[in-house]
Amino acid sequence: MNGSKTLLTSYVSQPGEIKTSSGKTLRTDEMIINMGPQHPSTHGVLRLEIVVDGEIIVDVIPHIGYLHRCFEKHAEHMTNYQQVIPYADRMDYVAAMNMEQGYAVAMERMLKIEVPERVEYIRVIMAELQRIASHLVAVGTFGIDAGAFTPFLYAFHDRERILDLFEMTCGARLLYNYIWVGGLSHDLPPQFIDKAKEFCKYYRPRIKEFNDLLTYNEIFVKRTANVGVLPKDVAINYACSGPMLRASGVNWDLRRDDPYSVYDRFEWEPQVGKGEMGTVGDTWDRHIVRMREIEQSVNIIEQALAGIPEGNVQAAIPKRIRPERGEIYARTEAPRGEIGYYIVSDGSTTPFRVKARSPAFVNLSVLPEISRGAMLADLVLIAAGVDIVLGEVDR
């Protein structure tokens, strides 16, 4: 408890000129509202400094870093490359599998390892399951932000089933440390394939139900359509990725366009926003893209489950990881978009520098652009539509 006194600063607001933290002076009819870090709809610890004129947003200044956990510093301090994985897990804790996969892919490219086919299949299954789970969190919390609590719980119930599959496989529910450089920590448990197939069968009708309950509800549509429109060229300029980019009408998916793993063997299609309810690139598009991606993921999982080959999942795991001097930037498609790892090796067993290019960080940076002129209530939905996970925004 020592030092708690110094934490308190003055609680009295000074009269006079009020400035935003980026140094802009307010006009008289503007007012600053602080949303977060503790606010029901900032999904953790984002803080939005909002300048409003009435209810219309003049400017949004996101403040991040409340969850800056020094991933990059940790990566540099690990004694071997493998140990980075638990920390990579904790970056995007909603989609830990994808984070691990990205790291593993980067390291494998650096080490020039070929991983067995079974490993790739299992990774695809896991990554897609994780994608569903992650999107479920996204659309569920989206529902809460729109004021509908029930869809969230339905989504979480389905997610729970996926987590059961994960726990069966690797023993953890959220942070798996499952995908290793060159392989996996465990092989699939024997009942897994049946259970996963069962899940797919169970899950398809639930997607429709969810859509009926939330996605196509007129109130919801009216709330989200034409809100937070992000045009194509801005999306690219801001390097948005994932559903955010696709919703803006860019047909772009790293699984197809910068191929890794075995995605080319399955039949599926990247989903793009079409502006059915409003403009291309609005918040509703982002939502529907996620919903449709979930369906696609179920397709991929079913195909992968059918075609999974036999093999050893640990065959390619190097005993000791010591890459040559060099560097690599490898990117994969996480649920939120392009997760890229820039890894620099100095030839020793510990990484010299690991930089994670996290999708939500980049996607979030466009938030001020798309929320100007919207209303306070819209901002909540726009932010939810960006689908941030603070762990990877702040790293």
Binding site: Y11, S13, M31, I33, N34, H39, P40, S41, E55, G143, I144, D145, A146, G147, A148, F149, T150, L153, Y154, H157, L213, L214, N217, I219, F220, K222, R223, M375, L376, A377, D378, V380
Partner: protein, 348 residues
């Protein structure tokens, strides 16, 4: 009773006091039940259980909640305006409770049988608006003020559709006194105003579409009056934290909470008394009588409250501009059409 009557003025006052304290008891009981029921219904809609560990199936939970709130420290933020901050719960609760005086719970119980009935209810409810504005402003918290202003603007805009819908019922029944209105509908479900009231058949048939629409509109407007989903913007958690009561804690907050739930009942009660036959039995004289009347009345109200809860856990919420759109551009014009329609039908 008679002995008391003999005591003169003071006796009658005593009777009146007891008489008017009854709804408090009722509100408390009802709030406990509804608090519990709301969570339970929500839970079952969401495939879960809610309250299971306090008493049998968590039935004691509301008691625990209230007892807990009693022990909660009462914080008044240093930036707040202390006087108004303290005053606000009184105004809100008085507004709510005053309205209860004109609710006919049964053929023998009505707090105050004034002629003005619903008109009085509409009027006295506006105290709630002022109370909320007071609380929100006194909190001196951005979320509170936002919530309060929104709340006031919303309640105020939806008061027009509410009043107009009530007016249509009054046009049919020809009385403002809810007791009279209820008596007017006696004789079974077909005599309820929502089904045209006890009028000659042709008139009745012509009226039914109008009354149905009016009933639905009144229900929607009453949702908005009590800030329930999809009109819960003032308390929209995902936007405004807790709305106007963000800074309130402990018992003061509990009073707002109680008033909110009491208001839920109130709007249902008005709707029931005007459109659903009040305390009359749906089966004519079968199962009627003062006690049954109480049962029917509360039963019907709780049904509407259930409907409110059900809607709450289904729908997302509107945005402010859509809220105003609904009130002014959908509900009000429809009601004007209904007024002309009903007026013509009844006059001709």
């Amino acid at each position: 009773m008679e002995a008391l009557e003999n005591l003169g003025v003071w006796g009658s006052i005593l009777i009146a006091v007891v008489w008017s304290a009854l709804p408090i008891v009722f509100i408390l009981l009802y709030a406990l039940v509804t608090l519990y029921a709301e969570m339970k219904i929500a839970a079952h809609i969401q495939d879960r259980l809610a309250y299971m560990r306090t008493g049998w199936h968590g039935t004691l939970q509301p008691f625990a909640d209230i007892l807990k709130l009693l022990q909660k420290e009462d914080t008044i933020s240093s930036a707040a305006d202390r006087k108004l901050f303290r005053l606000a719960p009184y105004v809100v609760f008085m507004g709510t409770y005053g309205a209860f005086s004109a609710i006919p719970f049964s053929s023998i119980y009505i707090g105050s049988n004034i002629d003005l009935g619903v008109f009085f209810i509409v009027a006295v409810s506006s105290l709630v608006v002022v109370g909320i504005l007071m609380g929100g402003w006194a909190s001196n918290n951005k979320w509170s003020i936002f919530g309060a202003m929104r709340s006031a603007a919303q309640m105020v805009s939806y008061e027009i559709p509410t009043a107009l819908a009530i007016l249509i019922a009054v046009m049919i029944t020809g009385s403002l006194n809810l007791q009279d209105v209820t008596k007017f509908q006696e004789g079974g479900i077909h005599n309820w105003v929502v089904f045209g009231g006890p009028l000659p058949l042709t008139q009745k048939l012509l009226l039914i579409p109008f009354t149905l629409v009016t009933f639905i509109i009144l229900f929607i407007a009453s949702l908005a009056e009590v800030n329930r989903t999809p009109f819960d913007l003032p308390e929209a958690e995902s936007e405004l934290v807790q709305g106007f009561n963000t800074e309130y804690s402990g018992m003061r907050f509990a009073m707002f909470y109680l008033a909110e739930y009491a208001n839920m009942f109130l709007v249902s009660a008005v709707t029931v008394a005007l459109f659903l036959g009040g305390w009359t039995s749906p089966f004519g004289s079968f199962l009627s009588g003062p006690v049954w009347g109480l049962f029917w009345f509360i039963g019907k109200c709780l049904l509407l409250v259930f409907l409110q809860i059900w809607i709450r856990w289904t729908l997302p919420r509107l945005r402010v501009d859509q809220l105003m759109y609904t009130s002014w551009k959908v509900l009000t014009p429809f009601l004007f059409v209904c007024i002309f329609g009903v007026g013509l039908i009844l006059v001709l």
